[in-house]
């Protein structure tokens, strides 16, 4: 099976654009036949990756996020890329999930969700872009 692109969206890396990003991916995930539970996971992983770029990729100002959706055999593939400084989200440590309310910190949960909800995830740096690739089995 070959990778088939289902569409690309380029938008400013701003949290206010999250709904636009979610609507774009939701439509492609439907088109790809992702079952509801998988789609929920894909949209949650999308939010975590998208918001991370909005908050941290461009500390000096504004930049964009490019979303690419595609299908590859039994997989729905979602890539997010930015032109920020080289940064691999997957290098972050796993959060401690056992601490109680007062000790618990929220940092790290986003990448934890990305790892857990995708069937595979990888990072690469290509042509000055950080690219996070997440794949989800259709069923």
């Amino acid at each position: 099976m070959e990778f088939m692109e289902l569409g690309t969206l380029c938008t400013a890396a701003r949290v206010e654009h999250l709904n636009q990003a979610v609507a774009f991916v939701d439509e492609r995930a439907e088109q790809c036949g992702l079952e509801p539970k998988k789609k929920f996971g894909a949209l949650l992983a999308l939010e975590e990756a998208f918001v991370n770029i909005c908050r941290y990729a461009y500390p000096q100002g504004e930049g964009d996020v490019v979303l690419t959706c595609g299908s590859d055999g039994e997989l729905f593939v979602l890539e997010l890329s930015d032109t920020g400084a080289p940064f691999d989200l997957l290098s972050l440590p796993e959060p401690d999930l056992t601490l109680d309310i007062m000790e618990r910190k929220i940092g790290g949960l986003g990448v934890h969700f990305i790892r857990k909800l995708s069937d595979s995830v990888s990072y690469r740096r290509e042509q000055n872009r950080n690219i996070l690739r997440m794949a989800f089995k259709r069923a």
Binding site: V15, E16, L18, N19, K37, F40, L43, L44, E47, E48, V51, C54, L97, T98, L99, D100, I101, M102, R104, I106, L109, G110, H112, F113, K116, L117
Partner: protein, 111 residues
């Protein structure tokens, strides 16, 4: 996201619906800050109609719970189910928040 509050004898009940994500989390934080200022002893958050929650949503939920605890109050979650329950399980939140099958159950447990 839509938020509604009502006062019960032993607690303040906050009903959430829609999505608690990075866009709506600041709204939740702002609204609950005002509720905490009134110093209720117990806050019951009803998730019955909440369809989605992300780490941003969990973050504000945790921040509210910390502020409540600091004031000697408690926070209880009712009707956490479906996809939202899965996010609670994945994050370990199911183990740190008291979960109840109904608002009535949460109110019965409230001190």
């Amino acid at each position: 996201m839509d938020m509604r509050t009502r006062s019960e004898e032993k607690a303040l009940v906050l009903t959430l619906s829609g999505k608690l994500d990075a866009v709506t989390a600041p709204v939740y934080e702002q609204r609950t800050a005002a509720l905490i200022a009134a110093e209720p002893r117990c806050l019951v958050v009803d998730f019955e109609r909440l369809e989605y929650i992300s780490s941003a949503g969990l973050g504000v939920l945790l921040a509210t719970a910390k502020r409540f605890k600091e004031k000697g109050g408690q926070i209880r979650c009712a009707n956490v189910k479906g996809a939202v329950k899965e996010v609670f399980d994945l994050s370990g939140f199911s183990a740190i928040f008291p979960l109840h099958d109904s608002v009535a159950g949460a109110l019965a447990a409230a001190c």
